[in-house]
Symmetry: C2
Subunit: 211 residues, 2 copies
DNA sequence: ACCATAACGGTACTCCCGTCCCCTTAACGT
DNA sequence: ACGTTAAGGGGACGGGAGTACCGTTATGGT
């Protein structure tokens, strides 16, 4: 009895299809992503693409999952500003990348209506944020940031303006924008904007609640 | 000779179609927005919907334009924190609204691949940001914020985390989230994060210039 | 080496989205 | 009020996306 066959041909087909989908995504964008054309470019049966993925957003979701497996290690400079700037620049380079940029735009758009895309996106960012949070946690331990600062909130605060530019203003963020985002997050964090108490975190100064 | 006829029936048809589209958007989301069903719900000819709008994203775009005409006046409390919090709460309520929330999600998603949606979205936010920027400009004049602070950047910094939550983490922002966003932006602004000089705006903390 | 079968690939088919055609309705000028 | 003609509505049509069917390939266990 054979349960499944992920090896050999199946793996090659998946790789071919994902590469073709990534090419088309970079060339024409998500709106023009036609499964039939993907099959042609991948030199694969049209039926196969429909059977294994079924929809364009499912294909793009698989593309993200595939990409997520090659994750870069975070920086460890021991300095909050440098770490946050490194993080911001990583995000910025990703969004500006001719292949990854369109992929993320497609996934984010798809996540607004497709549950699979939304799940993959959240999983991806949970991993990413979890990977970079220690930068902030260590800064708290060093006394660079007030006790009780929420590491995940700081990391997300770095990314937020970059995504805002990409999605709302339609301007792909550049490196100065990344540095500004990192700087703003660092300054806000130092001022205690990301201290998570039970109540509101609007006292800014008097914070002395160790975990 | 008659050039155009925007009155009477035409206006009524537009109103009926937009209302039906908004209903369906709120009920089923953008993915299920079928022009045929919109026509049925609006009790309007299917041909008419296709002739005047053509695509679902064009319909949603018109919906945004229609909604933008009823814009709320900004608050003028004379206090930066209160103004920014009012702005954040306005954005939060919009995104959490059962009708406007799905609309914005659809428009933002559509703007990643449809030029018309992107233009409408940018126009909408240019108006919104321009309307609220005086809050920041006045705070600069009062000396609450450093000279050279970019008003638009501050306003956008308030919104960015809320959109990040909505689109990336998939969590619709609540009122505490709005207050946190406003607070973080205010603290960063006071620390000079949004001063736009020719070079880098990182005078606040130690920084090395990179060659 | 051999077999059972997971997975692929080609083709025919279906169904429905979007368009076309043409008649009907009702704005707007006079 | 009356005529001209934008604009709307019904129905038929075409095309292409997605599916069903079934034969073919090659994987993985024995």
């Amino acid at each position: 009895m054979v349960a499944s066959r992920p090896g050999g041909r199946t793996a090659r087909v998946r790789a071919d299809v994902l590469r073709a989908a990534g090419d088309l995504l970079a060339e024409q964008g998500f709106a023009q992503l036609d499964l039939g054309e993907v099959a042609r470019r991948a030199e694969v049966g049209r039926t196969t693409v429909y059977r294994r993925w079924g929809t364009a957003i499912a294909l793009v979701t698989d593309l993200l999952i595939d990409m997520a497996e090659q994750s870069l290690p975070r920086s460890r400079t021991g300095d909050l500003d440098q770490d946050l700037r490194a993080n911001a620049r990583l995000v910025q380079r990703t969004l500006a990348d001719p292949r990854q940029g369109p992929l993320f735009k497609a996934i984010i758009a798809g996540a607004t209506w497709d549950e699979g895309a939304a799940t993959a996106l959240r999983t991806f960012y949970r991993t990413r944020v979890g990977e970079w949070s220690p930068c902030v946690a260590e800064a708290v331990e060093r006394g660079e940031l007030p006790a009780g600062t929420d590491p995940a909130a700081v990391i997300q605060a770095v990314s937020a303006p970059l995504y805002y530019d990409l999605l709302i203003t339609g301007r792909v963020p550049d490196e100065p924008a990344a540095d500004r985002a990192a700087n703003a997050a660092a300054l806000a964090a130092r001022a205690g904007a990301f201290v998570d108490l039970a109540g509101h975190a609007v006292e800014t100064s008097d914070i002395e609640r160790p975990a």
